[in-house]
């Protein structure tokens, strides 16, 4: 693991907000490297800064100080428009509440990020089909989110996250809204994706059981890294 180049490099990142005269530090001098192909879990209590860290890595937010590199791109220096373009190609998002567009079918939801790429309809169809095959939902292509169970919706969400073949998949509490069985299925799916496609996955979670799936768990508290658990066991 440690021998491969890190795909994500967070270097000396500070993130703070000013609320009136008061400065609220969310992240303080934080540095993290994420090797290519790693399944990383971020844990910590509410307000520990784990989601902020995830957002910085995903290019949804920019640090107050420090640098965030993904691959060989310094995303912390990108403009908003550049970030948006970069996200389309490089990041797959998985949300706690799935965030599928309710009026679009499963197929169309998955296709959404592809519309921003210079692809033909046939190419898009091929990619969407592949993604839906990977999440095992080829029989639900024309269903709307409202017609799907929570677990199924999340699988559509995962298909949408992988359909562009991104460098990095970020997941914010992907099982937070699911019952135990569905959650387990989703985690298994993430695990499989990571293994079979060699995807780097960064996942924020509260749930120790979910975190167990990850190869490495970073514990944050008050904006600082407090503990690191590496699980090599299942990797072998």
């Amino acid at each position: 693991m440690s021998d491969s180049e890190p795909i994500v490099r967070v270097v000396g990142v500070h993130k703070y907000f000013t609320r009136g005269a008061e400065r609220v530090d969310v992240l303080q001098n934080l540095s993290v490297d994420v090797p290519n192909g790693e399944f990383l879990a971020l844990m910590g209590p509410s307000g520990s800064g784990k989601t902020t860290l995830l957002n910085l890595i995903a290019g949804l937010d920019t640090p107050s100080e420090g640098e965030v590199w993904v691959g060989d791109e310094l995303i912390s220096a990108m403009s908003e428009a550049q970030l948006a373009r970069w996200r389309t190609r490089s990041i797959g998002f998985i949300f706690q509440f799935y965030h599928l567009l309710p009026v679009l079918s499963a197929y169309e939801n998955v296709e959404l990020p592809l519309l921003l790429l210079p692809l033909t309809t046939a190419q898009r169809r091929a990619q969407v089909t592949t993604a839906m095959e990977l999440v095992g939902l080829t029989d639900r292509l024309s269903h709307r989110p409202g017609q799907l169970s929570g677990g199924q919706q999340q699988r559509v969400g995962i298909a949408r996250a992988i359909v562009t073949d991104p460098t990095l998949i970020v997941a914010d509490e992907p099982t937070g809204d699911l019952d135990a069985r569905s959650a387990d299925e989703i985690l298994k799916l993430l695990d499989e994706l990571q293994r079979s496609l060699q995807k780097t996955i960064i996942m924020v979670t509260h749930d120790p059981k979910a975190a167990e799936r990850a190869q490495r768990i970073l514990h944050l508290e008050k904006g600082q890294l407090v503990e690191q658990t590496v699980r090599q066991l299942e990797r072998a």
Partner: protein, 445 residues
């Protein structure tokens, strides 16, 4: 700038179509740049169908109303446009711009009649029509107990109906005849007098028929006017011109009953073409021995378009103000749509859609809504096509009572759609900007 405006004025039809086509192309272009599938917008419109219908119907009612009103003005304009014959010159007494106020002495008329430049037709008839134009009061028959009603009817006293028909480019409908040289015929009319022969326009025939609760007056029917009984000998094939609301009868008889026994109102003469007509009009006006006003017939009728312009302005103002109301309505709808779908916006932004693309998506949604409402409005407005309405056309002090047909032209429909799209764009833009300004992460919370 002025040159540009002139150009626009001269080619307003093309400008209109270019604008409409441009707007539609622009929408397609937006859809292409925006990348968010239009089906996303359409389906959302369907999902919240209640507000969609209410908003679209507001557009519909504005556009439909505008269509009907414009069709009316269009009918007025087409009357004034279709009434003049190419090459015709109207000669009036000096200082008057309208037949109704013109008094030509017989001597004046003789002088003009002889002028070179007046052509003869293939049958050798010199194209000169000497006419009087008077307005009479007609008592409308009403049921006993009802309030008395009357109407103004326009009567053209004609010297020679055959030639007048040629000069005005009017024929009789099959089965009709021009009135005789005497202008009267045997028969028992009011006060036991002979019947006055007359031909009349279709529009007026229909209207008089309505008085009696029957079908339009036909050849052989009689009517009362100025204490005399008149008999219809023919109907003018006059649809779409101001003559549709006129009665034509013998000049001498008309003059006697309507206070113009010894003068003409106007003299209509035909020149070879419009250029020659303009020249002839100038010659008449410049003639030293007479004091006359002359203008081409086209000019004469286009001067009558003043009423049409008044209505046009009024309609434009009303349509614009109503449009503003519609704009506020669609703004409400779009603001609500955006606040309801802030999560969608957040997701799209996170997936990499740019702010501009979000703006486009919501702008398009408003435009689609507007287009749907506008199309329905056009459809509804089409119902008015062919309706008849009475009005007055006037200008320069004179006027004519007319019956017109409402004409819903393609230009009107295009204007309606444009207005609708304009309202949609205006009402959609500000909410779309607010959608664009939403922060991705915050909108997901």
């Amino acid at each position: 700038m002025l040159e540009f405006l002139k150009l626009v004025n001269a080619h307003w039809r093309d400008v209109l179509y270019v604008l409409l086509a441009g707007s539609l192309v622009f929408m397609a272009l937006l859809a292409a740049i925006g990348k968010v599938p239009v089906s996303y917008n359409v389906r959302n419109l369907v999902v919240r169908w209640k507000t969609t219908i209410m908003t679209a119907l507001a557009f519909t009612s504005v556009v439909a109303l505008m269509t009907v009103m414009m069709a009316f003005v269009n009918g007025l304009y087409s009357l004034t446009e279709n009434s003049g014959q190419p090459g015709n010159v109207v000669v009036l007494s000096s200082g008057s711009n309208d037949e109704g106020f013109s008094n030509l002495a017989f001597d004046d008329v003789r002088n003009v009649e002889r002028m070179p430049g007046i052509i003869s037709d293939s049958e050798g008839d010199r194209m000169v029509s000497k006419e009087i134009f008077v307005v009479g009061n007609q008592q409308i028959p009403v049921a006993p107990g009802e309030k008395p009603r009357r109407r103004f009817v326009q009567i053209r006293g004609i010297e020679n109906p055959q030639i007048a028909g040629k000069v005005h480019g009017l024929k009789l409908q099959p089965g009709g005849q021009w009135f005789s040289e005497a202008g009267v015929e045997q028969g028992q009319g009011d006060a036991g007098q002979n019947l006055i022969q007359a031909v009349m326009g279709n529009g007026l025939a229909a209207e008089m028929g309505r008085d009696l609760g029957t079908s339009p007056l036909a050849v052989g029917d009689t009517f009362s006017l100025a204490d005399r009984t008149w008999k219809v000998t023919g109907l003018l094939d006059s649809g779409g011109s101001t003559f549709d609301s006129e009665i034509w009868a013998k000049r001498q008889i008309t003059g006697e009953y309507f206070g113009k026994p010894a003068s003409y109102s106007s003299l209509i003469v035909r020149a070879a073409d419009d250029v020659a007509a303009t020249a002839l009009a100038e010659t008449v006006k410049g003639a030293k021995e007479t004091a006359l006003n002359a203008l081409t017939e086209k000019e004469y009728y286009s001067n009558m378009a003043e009423t049409s312009r008044t209505f046009l302005y009024a309609i434009v103002i009303v349509a614009l103000i109503m449009g503003v109301g519609g704009v506020f309505g669609v703004m409400n709808t779009m603001f609500a749509a955006i606040s309801q779908r802030s999560k969608d916006i957040g997701v799209l932004r996170i997936l990499g859609y740019q702010r501009g693309q979000i703006l486009i998506s919501f702008l398009l949604e408003s435009l689609v809504l507007a287009l749907a409402g506008g199309l329905l409005g056009c459809l509804l407005g089409l119902v008015a096509d062919g309706w008849t309405a009475r009005s007055i056309i006037s200008g320069g002090g004179g006027g004519k009572f007319v019956v017109l047909k409402l004409v819903v032209s393609r230009e009107i429909l295009a204007t309606g759609l444009l207005l609708s799209l304009f309202m949609g764009a205006l009402g959609g833009f500000i909410p779309a900007v607010s959608a664009m300004r939403l922060r991705a992460l915050e909108s997901l919370r």
